[in-house]
């Protein structure tokens, strides 16, 4: 009997894996249509303004509203709550195409989908979902995710932000750092310690509307890249919220954060893919047009080898990203693959954008061409939502588990 169950389970896994593999060769029709729609949107609405958004550090408000109308701001959310009801593969495709047009817009979309809506969808009560998800599906409002602090990024378990119960309220004190969307958001999830003695099992998640008494924002960080998205500290000084604003059970905060980042990794991998692809597009196009030594430089082996290496980096990271998405969509463990995807894609983004500048030569160094912006945008992908070092630890941990 047990053998029968095992065999059936293995067959099930094999079948979904087989569906996955054939889809690697050719995406399902809906996904192709979705990808084309997002590509058209990015080409027409994002690429032409990406340079300006970057220069002016301007939040792409209209574009986010348009994306909301299309359903892109809440892709995984069921239609009853106002979302698009699509799977993570669709989300990865959309993220890549949008980020290819504008990496900043990509990160705004990613944070709203994966880091803000994601945990509420998974851990929220029905009322919380209605209150905190539905208004954030249209592009009118975006949310953010407050985990990192000035004193701890990778060391997420050491949260020094505290929450104490006071009557019918929670009162939060502390500072969160590096929060994407902060200056443009209407709500945030914040992780705070509710029981210091329990260490990382004493952290809980909270929902805070923005603006809110007791919550203030630090200065907008002046970043190297993804400048159209706002990044700042969130400061809570006796910030009072109702008891009903706790997300998930008390003490589950760390687990919620880690699960959220697992999924968020796939979105960020897709964002990095978009940047890498945009760099490759820029370099290949230039190589066909720029002439030196009597012919387009695309004829020279030195350039060809660069383009080949860029192509391999992007395509392999893309397949890793799609695989992680498949596994998540078929409810299989995907932690290792998501970490691999994020690591590979972010390193592909920095590699491709670096090489793109090299192919463009002097033109790669000036703002007339987008290569320098891709270079600056790419760099953060190796840092946020889990540094490359953390990804390596996660991957190694998963690998070693397989051998125990």
């Amino acid at each position: 009997m047990a053998a029968l169950f095992k065999a059936r389970k293995a067959l099930g896994l094999c079948l979904s894996g087989c569906r996955g593999f054939s889809a690697l060769a050719e995406l399902p029709e809906t996904h192709q249509l979705l990808r084309q729609t997002c590509r058209d949107f990015a080409d027409r609405e994002l690429t032409p303004i990406a340079g300006k958004l970057d220069k002016e550090h301007a939040f792409p408000k209209k574009q986010i509203q348009d994306l909301g109308a299309m359903g892109v701001m809440a892709m995984e959310v069921p239609e009853e709550l106002g979302g698009a009801g699509m799977d993570y593969l669709a989300y990865s495709l959309a993220m890549e195409e949008i980020s290819r047009g504008c990496a900043s817009t990509g990160v705004v979309v990613s944070v709203n989908n994966s880091l803000y809506i994601g945990p509420i969808l998974k851990n929220g009560t029905e009322e919380q979902k209605q209150q905190w998800i539905t208004p954030f599906t249209t592009g009118e409002k975006v949310g953010c995710f407050g985990l990192s602090e000035p004193g701890n990024g990778s060391d997420a378990g050491a949260a020094s932000t505290v929450a104490r119960q006071d009557g019918e309220d929670w009162v939060l004190n502390g500072t969160k750092a590096w929060i994407t969307n902060s200056w443009d958001a209407s709500a945030t999830i914040v992780f705070a310690t509710t029981d210091k003695k329990l260490k990382h099992k004493g952290i809980s998640a909270f929902l805070i509307p923005m603006p809110h008494p007791g919550l203030s924002l630090g200065k907008k960080e002046d970043k190297l890249g993804i400048r159209a998205s706002s990044t700042a500290n969130i400061i809570m000084e006796d910030c009072r919220i109702p008891l009903g604003n706790m997300l998930g059970p008390r003490g589950a905060g760390f687990k919620i954060a880690m699960q959220t980042l697992d999924s968020g990794r796939i979105g960020i991998a897709a964002q990095a893919l978009g940047i890498a692809q945009a760099s490759l597009d820029c370099a290949a196009d230039y190589a066909l047009k720029r002439c030196a030594f009597g012919a387009p430089i695309g004829k020279l082996q030195a350039i060809q080898f660069k383009l080949a290496d860029m192509g391999v980096a992007v395509e392999s990271a893309r397949l890793l990203t799609w695989k992680a998405a498949f596994l998540k969509d078929s409810n299989q463990p995907f932690t290792k693959e998501a970490a691999m995807a994020k690591l590979a894609a972010s390193e592909a983004a920095t590699f491709c954008s670096h090489q793109a500048i090299q192919v463009l030569g002097g033109m790669g160094y000036v703002t007339d061409m987008p290569a320098e912006r891709h270079y600056r945008d790419a760099r953060i992908t190796e840092i946020y939502e889990g540094t490359s070092e953390i990804q390596r630890l996660v991957i190694a941990g998963q690998i070693l588990k397989e051998y125990q």
Binding site: T30, F41, D66, M70, G71, A84
Partner: protein, 254 residues
């Protein structure tokens, strides 16, 4: 006026693609080249969907003539909000020779079969630039036509059409049923929303052959040769007007 609108959509080589002529000069290269919906057809679909949203019409039926891939174009229109599609299958040599006359015969036959009260087409396709299908369809059906439409207003059972013509704008009022061809400024086509992309999967696409509509699609035309436009040559600067006139006379231009 209630009922059905027929919208024709054509699958063409994407506007951003650099067109290449085949080495044998028989036609342009289409294999492996990106195709998409003709931009004017997108505008036609958008107008029909808007009319349905305003409850002026009840059903938008999208039609495309061509090989299997024409279904992708129909699917895109369904994702924009059309209700169902009709794929008229034309393949191989027949497809290479398919032109406005045959398509207009098909559209006319379908208009009768589907009891359509309005046909909206793009003003022209960006591959052949014929600008004939709408006009021919209207003639075959003996229906009025409002071509190069930049604005449409329903007035009872008549349509007021503002047309973009060489001299400016012309406003005409035509009876329905009628044929409209869409010009650039009629509207801005929407991006398909993700829920609509999902819904499009479930919408029906009927398959027909021209013979099912008793339409003869033999072509009256034979393409002799296709060439690229001549390469642009460098210009010449002249010092005086007399020089210019002399040069033009020399070149046989005046």
């Amino acid at each position: 006026m209630s009922g059905r609108v027929l919208v024709g959509v054509k699958r063409v080589i994407d506007y951003a693609v650099k067109i290449r002529v085949k080495p044998d000069n028989s036609s342009v290269v289409t294999d492996g080249v990106k195709h998409s919906m003709n931009p004017f057809c997108e505008i036609a679909v958008e107008e029909a969907v808007k009319m349905k949203e305003k409850k002026i019409i009840k059903e938008v039926v999208v039609v495309s003539c061509g090989p299997q891939q024409a279904q992708e174009t129909i699917r895109t229109a369904l994702a924009m909000g059309a209700d169902r599609g009709i794929h008229v299958e034309v393949t191989g040599k027949d497809y290479e020779q398919l032109g406005p006359l045959q398509v207009s015969k098909i559209m006319a036959a379908l208009a009768k079969k589907e009891d359509a009260q309005l046909i909206i087409l793009g003003k022209q396709a960006i591959d052949d630039d014929c600008n004939q299908t709408g006009q021919m369809t209207a003639a075959l059906l003996d229906w009025p036509q409002g071509t190069f439409a930049s604005e449409l207003t329903m007035e009872g059972d008549k349509i007021k059409v503002v047309r973009e013509i060489d001299g400016g704008l012309e406003t005409v009022k035509i009876n329905t049923p009628a044929v409209i061809t869409a010009d650039l400024r009629l509207n801005t086509p929407r991006y398909a929303t993700l829920p609509n992309i999902m819904k499009a999967k479930k919408k029906k696409i009927a398959n027909l052959k021209p013979a099912d509509l008793e339409v003869d699609i033999t072509s009256r035309l034979e393409v002799l040769r296709v060439d690229e436009p001549p390469q642009r040559e460098a210009g010449v600067k002249v010092e005086t007007v007399d020089d210019l006139v002399a040069r033009l006379k020399e070149a046989g231009r005046i």
